[in-house]
Structure formats: C-alpha cells, structure tokens
Symmetry: C2
Subunit: 355 residues, 2 copies
C-alpha cells in the first residue's frame, strides 16, 4: 500500500452521498470475534498472535468477501502511517498504539476493514456514507458467515460469542451512526437530545479529535449492550427509533434557525467561511468547528460556491498525519497549523489570493 | 447643512495623507476662550448664551478665517445630527448632550471647527491628517488673533486666559495627537510605552468608542497642563520629543513582527480581513478592532487589494449615526449591526458575493 496515495484519496464513508447525508455522516457496524483454541490476546504469546494473523488472513483471502484490497502489518508500519489509518477510521487508536503482531485488512474504497489482534482476535467493520445500517450489517454479517465456515470462533451456547471485554459478549456487535448536529448545538438543545439518547442506553461521543468533546459538532451514537438482543433487533431500533428522532430534532432546529435567526445563522456560517479562507495558521480543533458551520451553510443552501465534498475532504485531510503525508515531510504542531491553513485556502479557492 | 451629504463625505483629517500617516492618524490643537463681561456658562442665562453666540458668530464672519463653511445650531439640531458631528470629531459629546443655546461653526473640509457655548464660550480646534502640529497651531492661533481684534477675551495678566475649568487656565491650549499603535498592542509593549508617556504628564486615552479603552488600537495623546509653558513650548515638546519616540517604538515593533512573527502577524491581519468581508452582523467595537488590523496590514504591504482610504472611511462610516444617515432610517442596535456588516462587505468588494 502506498500511504501517500491513500492520504490523497477521499474516504467513501465521508462522501455524504448516502441517504440523509446532510445530517448522517456515516453508518458503521462492527463485530468482535475470537478464534477457538487460542487464548484472549492479553494472555497470548507473540507466536500465537502470529498464528492468528496468518489463519485469519488466509481465511479472508479464501472467503473473497472484499476485504482484500490491501493489508497493513501494523507492527511494521511507520508511526505516521498508523496515524493515517486512525484518521481514516480504518483502525482504532488502541490498535495503532499497542504492541505485537497485528494488522488490518482493508477493502476497496475503504468501506470495509478487518483488524487482526486488536482487543479481540478479529474486529470486522463496515462503514458507509449516510444512513445505511441495513447495508453495512449485510456486508459485515456476510463476511462473518464466510469466515465462520473456515475458522472456528470461540462461542458459548448460552452467552454467544465470547469476547475479551464482557461488554461485547453476546452478539459482539457495535452499531454506530455519526451525526452532524450543528443546529442543535447552536440552539442549545443538543444536551437535552443527547441526554435522552443516553437514557436509552446508547453511548454518545465526539467523532474527531482527541477527547470525547464533539469537535466540529460531529457526534457518534452507538449501542452499549450486546447481550439479550439479536443483531437485527439492535439495528432495527437504531434505524427506526433512535436515529430518525435525532434527525428530526436537527432538521427542525435548522428550519427554526433559517426562519427566526437567518442573520445570526448566516453570520456564523460566513464568518467560518471567511476565517477558513483567510487564516494563516489554524489548529485542528478550530478547523473542525469552522468546517462544521460551513458544512451546515452548504446543506442549507446559504453557501453555494463550494460543495460538500470539498468540506468532507478537508475534515479528513486537515488531520495531522494527512497533512504530513500530503506535504511529504514531518511537521511539528506549529508547522502543521501553517500548512493546514494553506491547504484550506487552496481548497476554498483562496490559495493565490493574498486577500 | 445637509447632514446626509456630510455622512457620505470622507473626513480630511482621517485621510492618512499627512506626514507619518501610517502611525499618526491626526494632529489637533484646540484653544479655550471666554468673552470678557459675560459669566462662565455654568452661571450664564440663556439670554446671555444667545448674545455670546451672536457676538462670536459675527466676529467669525468678519474675521473670515475659514470657519464659515457651515454653522449648526446644536440646540435645534436633531439628535442624530448631533451624534453625526460627534462621530466626525467636530463637536464633543458634552456639547451634543448639554442644554441651551449653543452651536458649532465648521470650516471647509472640516479641518477647523469652533464650538460656541461648550464648556467655555469659545473652543477653537484645528484637525489635520498625520503629524502637522505646527500647521494646526498656525491656523488656530491665526483665527484666535483675528477674533481677539473683534471681541474682548477674559484675560488675567498673571494667569493668562481664564477658563471655566482650572486645568485649561493659562494658554487654554490642548494639543493632541491620534496614534495607531497595533504592533505595540500585539507585542504587549503598549502599556510600558503609555506609562512612560503618562509619566511626562500627558494624557492617553482611546480615540473612538464610548469608554477610554483604546478600541481599534487608536490612542489619543494630549497635554495635561496649560500653565507655565508657552504654546510654542508645549507644541515643540510634543512635536520633537513625545510623538517621535512613540512612533519609533511602534515602527520598531512592526519591523520585529514582520521579521520574527510573519505567520502570526499575517494570521491576525488576514483573519480580520476575512471576518470583515464575511460577517453578517458586527458590532461597532469588533469592527474597530478588525479595521485596525487591516489598516496595519495595508501599511505593512501585506494586504494589497484595498487602500487605506477605504479603511479610514469605514472607521468613520460604521459608527451609529453615520450608518443611520447612510441608510436614511433610524435603526436599533441589532439592525445597525446588520447594516454595518453589509456596508463593510460592499466596501471591501464582497457585497454581491454570498461567499
């Protein structure tokens, strides 16, 4: 895999082409699985990790279910390349940072990825633009079934699939939907909506950025429990109860803003646009916040001269590893802020204009 | 006088055409005088105020020294028109707000003004762009001498000219220079420089805005004492000691910023430019702060596509009364912020561009 090329590519899951893409950034399903006959990773030797890696990869290639576009040996990969994969949501931060034999198999267009030896032996994920939970569930469960024909999973007749962490035992399923909720943030209703969501035993956290703070008004909503409900029930609740109600709140808040606070709304949107188009140095966090407002401006038809794709690319490419890959150099924080501002100005069409 | 036309005109003293105009906005001299045979205004009847007004105006017309472009009866003037004169620095806030017969005679291009019945019977001022203290002193003292041939001033052989407030007794002279000191503000050296200035018994305060806070990094430095020094000594010290040293500090700070902090400096400058070009609603205070950075950007050659005159016009025309005159309507604070943002976008060439 050429990581420089990867950094230049848009991520299909960030394309906003999917259903309800103006609010739902992406839908993700992941399954946790472990091989029978091997200990959980906390107690596995590196020789066992190597065996697991080989077994799973062979099964993947035989299964031919589309996760074989490229394979990255994370243990061997450069730190910057690992970080790049994290920024593209292909591996977890933990997978990048841990030790020992481990890897990730990535499908074409990066809509599928399979981590080997992360917290569990196997983590399968599918990720698509917009609200497509049924579709991502279909490809994940298809791959899961194909693998199960070739390798034996650790399974308990009463508990279901066994996982390293008890919260995943059962279905081993985590469903998550990434939402862009700038209007609820602006109207101050976000906390109420998120509290209601948490009350239904769903987890909510920020999408980009280091902490759990929702930088750029991007939120990830996911299920907490994996036991006592079937996969289909979990997905059905998500698809038909939780997500539509949040979308309704956000859509309504956007309408209210346009109707009652058009000047204040446009002020937010165009100030963000003006700052992004003119800043000479800008942090990742400020960038996300401003991009969020610009994205809302495009969705609401207030900004017409750039498209959502440009904003989505910037969400991805203004991250630290992407910036360094695009620039072809290791950069410290101060240098990144300058290069980030340059990239944004160029993409917004202000690259050569000193104003 | 047509106040609508006045609001549209640039102010000559804000033109930046004068010497050292990149740092020195303007030079001003004013004299306080009172007529012999009349009480100070705190104890004058309105009939006496009327007599003073008539006597002074007649003397002005006879003297023919260029303060007869137009006369405004402040008592009769609409409040918005009074405010307009304050914003153009032709009358003081006190003169606009007080009661009784009073007026102002204004010269061509507004470089001279004579207030009648402000704190003293007569306040003569001359105001010019850049550092032109000798020139403003010349026209003020010329008018003063011409008036003294026609009306008798209250004068005490030992104290000099008598004034309503003891701080003006003696020469009745106040010299002030308006300075733009954004680099000293950015480098954090401003307080030290101003403290040194105050130690030499000079007053420093903000130029625009309600309070004494220096909005837009614009400072007014003026003498505190009027007793024990001749007019020429006061002006000489100002011209050759105080002002050049502040200019040197500011010029040096600008060079240091360009040399050592070009990215941070450009960031400040272009963010200000971007915000002004894109905001949909903006307060007077924020406007002044941003215009200040843009003005510095033009002075330093970082912004090339607009000129200082545009920025100077905006300093003047984004003030509340000017905005309302230009719009031809009374506007509340919220409406003014929207109209202000529109005016700025139009003047910066972003008026029709939604981006």
């Amino acid at each position: 895999m050429n990581f420089d090329d990867l950094a230049r590519r848009p991520s299909a899951w960030l394309s906003c082409q999917g259903p309800l893409g103006e609010v739902v950034i992406s839908s993700r399903v992941r399954l946790a699985r472990n091989l029978a006959g091997f200990p959980f990773l906390t107690r596995a030797t590196d020789s066992q990790r190597c065996q697991i890696q080989r077994l799973v990869w062979n099964a993947l290639v035989e299964a031919g279910q589309g996760v074989d576009a490229f394979y990255v040996d994370i243990e061997q990969a450069h730190e910057l390349d690992r970080q790049l994969l994290v920024e593209r949501h292909l591996i977890s931060r933990q997978h990048a940072a841990s030790k020992g034999s481990r890897g990730v198999a990535v499908g074409a267009a990066e809509t599928m990825a399979l981590m080997i030896n992360e917290e569990d032996h196997i983590r399968i994920q599918a990720l698509r633009s917009g609200l497509q939970l049924d579709e991502v569930w279909k490809v994940v469960s298809g791959l899961d079934a194909a693998l199960e024909q070739r390798i034996e999973y650790a399974y308990h007749p009463r508990f279901g699939y066994l996982t390293a962490c008890p919260t995943n035992v059962g279905t081993g399923l985590r469903v998550s939907v990434r939402l862009h909720l700038p209007a609820l943030k602006l109207t101050g209703e976000i906390e109420r909506v998120l509290r209601a969501t948490r009350d239904t035993r769903l987890a909510v956290r920020g999408l980009f950025g280091e902490g759990t703070e929702a930088t750029g008004d991007l939120y990830q909503v996911s299920n907490q429990t994996t036991l006592g409900k079937s996969e289909e029930e979990i997905i059905h609740d998500f698809r038909h109860l939780v997500v539509p109600s949040i979308i309704d709140y956000e859509t309504h808040a956007r309408k209210v803003l346009v109707r009652d606070k058009a000047a204040a709304l446009d002020d937010k949107i165009f100030r963000a646009y003006g700052l992004l188009g003119h800043a000479r140095t800008i942090s990742s966090e400020e960038t996300l916040g401003l991009l969020s407002h610009v994205r809302m401006g495009i969705s609401l038809g207030r900004i017409k001269d750039i498209d959502l794709q440009t904003v989505n690319d910037l969400f991805l490419q203004t991250q630290p590893a992407h910036l360094q890959k695009l620039r072809g150099a290791l950069l410290d924080g101060e240098q990144r802020s300058i290069v980030r501002a340059e990239l944004i100005r160029r993409r917004l069409g202000n690259g050569h204009n000193p104003g």
